[in-house]
Symmetry: C2
Subunit: 340 residues, 2 copies
DNA sequence: CTGAAAGCGCTTACAG
DNA sequence: CTGAAAGCGCTTACAG
């Protein structure tokens, strides 16, 4: 591969002149520019992006770690939606995405810190659902800017973040089920150690409290975001002496598992039991019965996070502030008035 | 951020010694190593990955361009499956993924060439479905190694690639439908300019020919991989004087659209008409009726492609050879014997 | 085992 | 507008 000096030699100019032609923002005479461009073309020269990055201390790259810690991560619509939002904005701003895998929640942080510390990216989007105070503290120490998808712990409320209003959204969903006459309502969360799952649980509890309903602990279950987790949750909760007449699941995959278990048990949906999913994945509307689901705009959330990050990078400031996106319940065929 | 010289100064050694401690593969006395590590820790030093990349001419990064050219790209299971396979292998080998968006098929090539030429990645995975001879030629000129997901044009048959056996797989699916008694079988392709869609069409034609069935041109339609495309295909094909009794769709999204259109027209599936999708997305089994679909292991295909690329990079050779993964038809509830 | 030096391929402040 | 030089932060062949 040819370098800037090869081109310079061929065009009979100084390497710095070649650099100026390619970096764009310098006054160069037309004659020189043409000579350089011709030489570059002849040598098939393209400036080495890594060398440029080292020199200008900018990679035009945003880092993101993909957890895929739970089974079915790549079957859920969360991942493609996040990637879609991230790619739209990075592409539009001339940025790329540096994506790393990881093998556990703790490794997710290790990978994040590594990208931050080694400056392979100009900024990073953190999607971990399990950030504790110390972890966020560690992340902040690094000079590389970051934006969270999800709320930070209170002690770090000034870290930039974007998220849905999980607690309030879930409260409204549960309130709607109560409005439909349901009182024995199950909450099927994902990973209980995850912030979003805790926030949704709080919304659930709040709505139940407001509805004057004492929560039976057997109604709270966790399916770890997996289809089978939803299935198992039905097996357990329906065995209770106060079986739920409605299920709220923290993603659609679990809702699908719930529907499968109910079908097996010949419990009619929505006549006997109602089911609500979360995320409104593309298939939700195509299921039969079509799944009622809380539509969370993860695509927009990710896009907003990327934009906040890029803006901060461009202005060379620490990203701050937060944005909350509201979600809407898309009522389809799995919810109805409580029987009896 | 501190550099190698800050650490060197603090530890009272030469910068090269610090480098040796961090690059791992050099003999360093325990005493020195400890001093350096202590100094590094005190200064929160982490080697700059970009500088290292420039020096060793390795980025430990694989490039990939995400087309999302067609509507619904992020709703299909193709993307998450590819990413999943890519991430598994890159992560296991200490690599990362450099992902770029693009806005058209031609821009996809532009982006690919750019990553190749500017050496931001050690290799690249090309997923474009529309590679012509010249484009592949251009890509090959670059020194950066590449592996295709999908077959290259014949003139470049020595370029490394991984794919399913699209033609043969589709031939078998159609043969199966013929075995079930169907003769008026529709082929609903994605983007007709795409190689995979042409290959599948060939398999379709071959099976029809073997079955002694003259193909009615009205049975061949294109839904551009979108749900609505499948829906429209039914509107057109059912208006024909020889309406199909079976539909083969080149992805599940279109199959879902086909099912929707048939439901609207009150055409019973599978009693009156059979439907087969492709890719066997997670939702296929959860639809009602559950969708019969050709299971294509894009996850494995992507993983194999990444592994071929990384192996070649590590051995510093041009990737060569190819791997073909077989697909299997998962028969569920949308296929049955042809009535009458 | 450790140091000193040259180099990876760019950029940019400083002169002129 | 262009050149000469120093620098971005590492690595590594060469000595010793």
């Amino acid at each position: 591969m040819s370098t800037i000096r090869d081109v310079a030699a061929k065009a009979n100019v100084h390497p710095s002149t070649v650099s100026r032609v390619f970096s764009g923002n310098a006054r160069i005479s037309d004659r020189t520019r043409r000579r350089v461009l011709a030489a570059a073309k002849a040598l098939n020269f393209q400036p080495n992006a890594i060398a440029r990055s080292l020199s200008v201390r900018r990679t035009h790259t945003l880092g993101v770690i993909v957890p895929h810690v739970f089974k079915g991560y790549f079957e859920d619509s969360f991942f493609p939606q996040i990637m879609s939002g991230l790619l739209d904005v990075t592409y539009a701003n001339g940025y790329r995405l540096l994506v790393s895998g990881c093998e556990s929640y703790s490794d997710e942080i290790v990978q994040t810190l590594q990208i931050l510390a080694t400056r392979q990216a100009d900024g990073i989007i953190v999607t971990s659902g399990r950030l504790d105070v110390n972890t966020v503290g560690e992340l902040r120490v690094q000079a590389t800017p970051l934006v969270l998808i999800g709320q930070p712990p209170e002690q770090h409320s000034d870290v930039a973040w974007v998220d849905a209003d999980n607690c309030e959204d879930t409260r409204q969903v549960i309130a709607r089920l109560i409005e439909l006459g349901h009182r024995r309502i199950a909450y099927v969360g994902g990973d209980p150690d995850t912030r979003v799952v805790k926030e949704r649980l709080e919304g659930y509890c709040r709505a139940m409290h407001e509805g004057g309903i004492a929560v039976d602990p057997s109604w709270i279950d966790y399916g770890y975001f997996a289809e089978d987790g939803g299935y198992q949750a039905v097996q357990r909760t329906q065995a209770s002496s106060t079986p739920p007449t409605a299920y709220y699941a923290a993603n659609d995959l679990m809702a699908i598992g719930i529907l499968r278990a109910l079908r097996e048990r010949q419990i009619a949906v929505p006549d006997a039991v109602s089911v609500v999913g979360t995320n409104d994945s593309p298939e939700a509307g195509h299921l039969s019965p079509a799944l009622t689901s809380l539509h969370v705009s993860y695509r927009e959330i990710a896009a907003a996070a990327a934009q906040m990050l890029i803006d901060a990078i461009k202005e060379d400031v620490t990203p701050t502030g937060s944005r909350i996106f509201s979600s809407t319940l898309v009522e389809r065929q799995t919810t109805a008035v409580c029987p009896g």
